[in-house]
Amino acid sequence: MALETSQIQEKITQKFGANALNFETQKGIFSFEIASDSIHDVIQFLKEDQDLNFHFLTDLCGIHFPDNDEKHQFAVVYHLHNWIENVRIRVKTYLTGNPEVDSMTDLFLSSNWMERETWDFYGINFKGHPQLKRILNMDEMISHPMRKEFPMEDSGRTDKDDRFFGRTTINS
């Protein structure tokens, strides 16, 4: 019997109650939100439960929402895949302006590099990660460049006149 989304929702709600909310299907993938302090338990349950069996972490990434309230400044998104039933789910957890979340490295070895990448670009601190350091950017970098407060452009650029690229309000 195929794994139904209602079945997943029922199991999660039964076990975690109010810590799991906003169940919906987005872009064809069943998604829900988990309170950040129970995210590790939820992912562990999703992986180890005999019926759910989400044993593959497809992706892990960060999002920055600078316009949200203090409790929803950052999000970490986990994409899980059940290979046996071929079902995918998306689990989101929202974090504060000083983002901290439990590392999944004890459950999925693949999350090691993905968490390093998320740390590199968003500065999200993964508690319990064995080696949380930059992976893609140069080590000397001090910013977390995918956060909206940091400019995408390089400040060392000298050959570009901002007026010709629509970056200044005064185009004189």
């Binding site: 950017n137 140069m138 970098m141 910013s143 940091f150 995408m152 452009e153 390089d154 650029r157």
Partner: protein
């Protein structure tokens, strides 16, 4: 010999007599250097593909004395940087440059190596001249092999006219010092 199609380099200006030829050492050294520039390709992206075409039989950079592509910086004269150099790679490029023996020249091939090109972003070095001195810039995205050959010929012209004393001049030392080399 009149039938020969082999093109020889013109000898430098000098005085010829029976059994001798007198000229300036500068000119002879310059001629020798200019016609045996060993390139060190530092290719990271599409400009590197154009360089491969430049080295291959159709465009044949070997005609200019660059037959041997040196993959060791210690035996190369001309560092050809082709493609986007990220900031993380900048120290490696610098190290390669430092390992080259004097006299050494650098060609920045393509928009990315020259100025960062379209990649005006936090992770990309905005032109290799931020970390090492560059002699010739080849524009284009990517440049055609003809342009790369033209860049090499421009460099040959520089090399031919360079004084043998230039590398020990205070100006040159100042240039290197400005790059902390």
């Amino acid at each position: 010999m009149t039938e020969s199609k082999i093109k020889m380099v013109e000898p430098p200006e000098g005085v010829t007599g029976e059994g001798f030829f007198a000229t300036k050492l500068n000119d002879v050294v310059g001629m020798a250097r200019a016609n045996s520039l060993w390139p060190l390709p530092f290719a990271t992206s599409c400009c590197g593909i154009e360089f491969m075409a430049t080295m291959a039989s159709h465009y044949d950079l070997a005609r200019f004395g660059s037959e041997r592509v040196s993959f060791s910086p210690r035996q190369a004269d001309m560092l050809m940087v082709m493609g986007t150099i990220s900031k993380k790679m900048a120290p490696i490029l610098r190290q390669v440059y430092e390992q080259m023996a004097e006299p050494r020249w650098v060609i920045a091939v393509g928009a990315c190596a020259s100025s960062g090109g379209i990649f005006d972003t936090y992770s990309v070095l905005q032109g290799i001249d931020k970390v090492i001195p560059v002699d010739v810039y080849v524009p284009g995205c990517p440049p055609r092999p003809e342009q790369i050959v033209d860049g090499v010929m421009q460099l040959q012209e520089l090399v031919r006219n360079e004084s043998v004393r230039r590398r020990s001049s205070p100006e040159y030392k100042e240039l290197l010092a400005s790059y902390n080399l």
